[in-house]
Symmetry: C2
Subunit: 339 residues, 2 copies
Amino acid sequence: MIVVQSPLHARHDGGMELHRGALVPSFESPDRVDQILRAVSGKWPCIEPRPHAEAELHTVHDPAYVEFLRTAYTRWQADGRDGSMLPSGFPARSLRQDRVPDGINGAMGYYAFDAGTPIVAGTWEAAFAAARCALTAAALVSEGARSAYALCRPPGHHAARSVYGGYCYLNNAALAAQALRDAGRARVAILDIDYHHGNGTQDIFWSRGDVHVTSIHGSPDTEYPYFLGYADETGVGEGAGCTRNFPLPRGTGWDTYAAALEEGMAGLRAFAPDALVVSLGVDAFEHDPISSFRLSSAHFADIGHRIAAAGWPTVLVQEGGYAVEDIGTNVVAVLSAFG
Amino acid sequence: MIVVQSPLHARHDGGMELHRGALVPSFESPDRVDQILRAVSGKWPCIEPRPHAEAELHTVHDPAYVEFLRTAYTRWQADGRDGSMLPSGFPARSLRQDRVPDGINGAMGYYAFDAGTPIVAGTWEAAFAAARCALTAAALVSEGARSAYALCRPPGHHAARSVYGGYCYLNNAALAAQALRDAGRARVAILDIDYHHGNGTQDIFWSRGDVHVTSIHGSPDTEYPYFLGYADETGVGEGAGCTRNFPLPRGTGWDTYAAALEEGMAGLRAFAPDALVVSLGVDAFEHDPISSFRLSSAHFADIGHRIAAAGWPTVLVQEGGYAVEDIGTNVVAVLSAFG
């Protein structure tokens, strides 16, 4: 196992989020990475990402969206503002989705889908660095490594082709999967075990037959992101049958979770991927402050073994997990199964 | 002029809104009504609304949406929460808009389009009372009054058939217009002079040829609600040509505003309505804290005279206006032209 991480993640700090009717410091905080680094360093070699070009982001994101992310905070400051950027209006039902407003407030709402994903001065630098971590981990696996772990922060799986939200700006896992495809792996699978549905990843590969997306998560009926991740979503066109969702009820424990994981893995085995990307959120943990599943650290080790047993070359990409004290332990529990 | 108002507006109080990245007490506050009442009482008779039934709301709103509004706060409390309800995820681009999540958090996001429109314990009572004010004012005009003023709070013009936002929950102006239609007025016009585009009103009558909607407002390129109110929106089907938008740039002064008003009035005269509903926001005022136009109180008197000169039976419905000290003066300036 090789760990890829960048200290630039720390530039994304100080943001506030709207959570259950109150403005609070973002649960997605820099000390998450500090804890994970403490747990993995010494166990595995840690490297910084290679200098991937911004143009590589266009393999899964719209160029205009990338340009928005890169320039957003400067535009916000030019408008006389400071602090963290949070949009206050969205192109939801009954409103136009075909036009990006000229001003920064409207543009921010156009590209976002929640009020919980702040943009601060260092967000772009951190998000781009996280994307480079994922791209470098994918390159290592393309070059023959059995596995590599991208310690991405901010996370990525809620970011769609041109939409950010859920603490995510650039879809690190999707970038890794596409990089594996571009390096010649004909069939790539993504297994998303974050507590929240990976709506962005699903959106990006929705009509693709070469990238299979399986997600196990809290039911969107009650859990964020609410508007994607139901069981009846299975892909369209060439992608028909290549999306599978396992929404599970609040309070789900290990037996139910393990059964869903087995069914998901069976689907992936039938797809027979040449490489796997794991969206590794550890917020299904029993003590996570914003989730409801009841998995223990031992269960995360079990998850790791079940995934590693398939034997596919694997890129693991860090997603969520907000029980900061235990996040390192839970990540290591999964990674250890890959040797 | 008869004024219709309800003390129940005060039940909608204490809400917080996300404004430019910070959580602040809602600009749409109960003292707005206190100031207006102080200015109009003594000048005109003030009455309370008649007991209109909830079913009358279904003339312009989906029943499931009305049910959501009526039960939202109780559901929020049943989920163990208090304070003001603000959604944190929306069915914006790349997400499903065809399914209402079972849980209150997802349902709230489904029905909302911003994080600036709090629901508190008394919101439903206040919104329903405001709707009754508008319906009663429409009834008075249907019965022969030259004009009537509904002192509605919360306002309504951002509320669409099944969407709330922009401080608005039930579309008071649309309810008044539909009530005039149902009482036999064949052609009804709505003139919206609030600083912000009346996206909800436009949505409700978008394909209707019997209700003409004209709005003069800050350009959505830079002003809320960002995603509707551009000049190229003119209606569809039987409603083709029955929507007209006059988006004006930030800092617009009287000359430009008056020219747009004249052009808008010319369009309404061509439509030849049997009755008029005015969405009366006074936030085009030069000292409004969240707007940018430069109209004075004298200009509001001028606006009143230009509208009243058309001679149509008129229902005036209170919308926005957040320069609380001057709101009464500006409202009276418009109303006085109607005698």
